[in-house]
Symmetry: C2
Subunit: 165 residues, 2 copies
DNA sequence: TATTGTTATACTCTATAACTATA
DNA sequence: TATAGTTATAGAGTATAACAATA
């Protein structure tokens, strides 16, 4: 096995485990309970995306960042809006579009949730050397970016099937 | 913000993005198409887990490693067995248990799938310095392990709610 | 009596198709 | 005619509850 594929070959099982780990409903339930909020997971993910962006986003942009499809976002925005956790404001640059903004109550809920989850992460990584934590964030940031680029290209059909012809 | 939580605070959005990225059905469909196989995602995940273990596993152990619940595994084992991709052999140490083993056709299907996906990873990481790839695998391995430990403890109620009382 | 696994059922999450309104 | 978003519907994925068999 050549050195280039050597390190990446071991990646798949770990990424799959990470995926299923983060997908555990039980874990999310614990998080929202600790945070003292009531909200389903996709809705909370929308709030986290808005919070991370630090400015209002279009519906389509939220969908893109979540790697899901438009209608899925719309559905959850409806219930989020009913609870006044987000608001839809017209995009001044395009009357078809809406900008989705966190309301103060929405911001509070995200803050409480991320505080709990970040606390878990901090605890899990408490024994790590400082440099490893920094390195992890750097590499994970780049991994996410590069995989997104790669997968977008694959999904768009830009990249022909690997090893086929 | 203290330096300990500094690096971990940025983790959540990236891990969420990684989760949704790996959850994209479209991506999986492309992978199985490139690999020339027909199998749904949870079933393939079972095969990957068996392949990574390199020896037969009990049903419960597969469920644990997938972070899912027993009946979910059973359901997919039934169809996998019908297609002769796995076989159930009695566990000599416990007559209640069954050991799940890959059959040669099952092994071939996993191999074709992992080859395709690993090819994607290799392509996505092609521009990385060798050392970064090695570091990523090391840190990701430890992250997965430590998060699993932490989350298992949380789910079991061993760890009281953070910041609550 | 506790544990391993299975069957049957219900719920959560996400996608596809059809439609409206603005560019 | 193409794009942003919404509504309605269908499907994939996972969990809970009830049960059977062995420890």
């Amino acid at each position: 096995m050549d050195p280039l594929s050597d390190a990446t070959t071991g990646l798949l099982p770990h990424l799959l485990q990470l995926r299923t780990l983060l997908n555990r409903g039980q874990l999310y339930e614990q998080a929202v309970q600790d945070a003292g909020v009531t909200l389903d997971r996709p809705a909370m993910t929308i709030l986290v995306v808005l919070d991370a962006a630090e400015h209002p986003l279009r519906v389509g942009e939220i969908a893109t960042r979540m790697h899901v499809v438009g209608p899925h976002v719309t559905r959850h925005l409806n219930s989020l809006e009913k609870r006044a956790l987000i608001k839809r404001v017209p995009d001044p640059e395009d009357q078809r579009a809406r900008l989705i903004a966190l309301t103060p109550p929405g911001q509070r809920i995200v803050d409480r949730y991320t505080t709990v989850v970040n606390g878990w992460f901090t605890a899990a990584l408490a024994q790590w050397p400082h440099q490893d934590r920094t390195e992890l964030l750097r590499l994970l940031t780049r991994l996410t970016r590069d995989l997104t680029t790669q997968f977008d290209a694959i999904a768009a059909g830009t990249i022909p099937a690997q090893g086929e012809d």
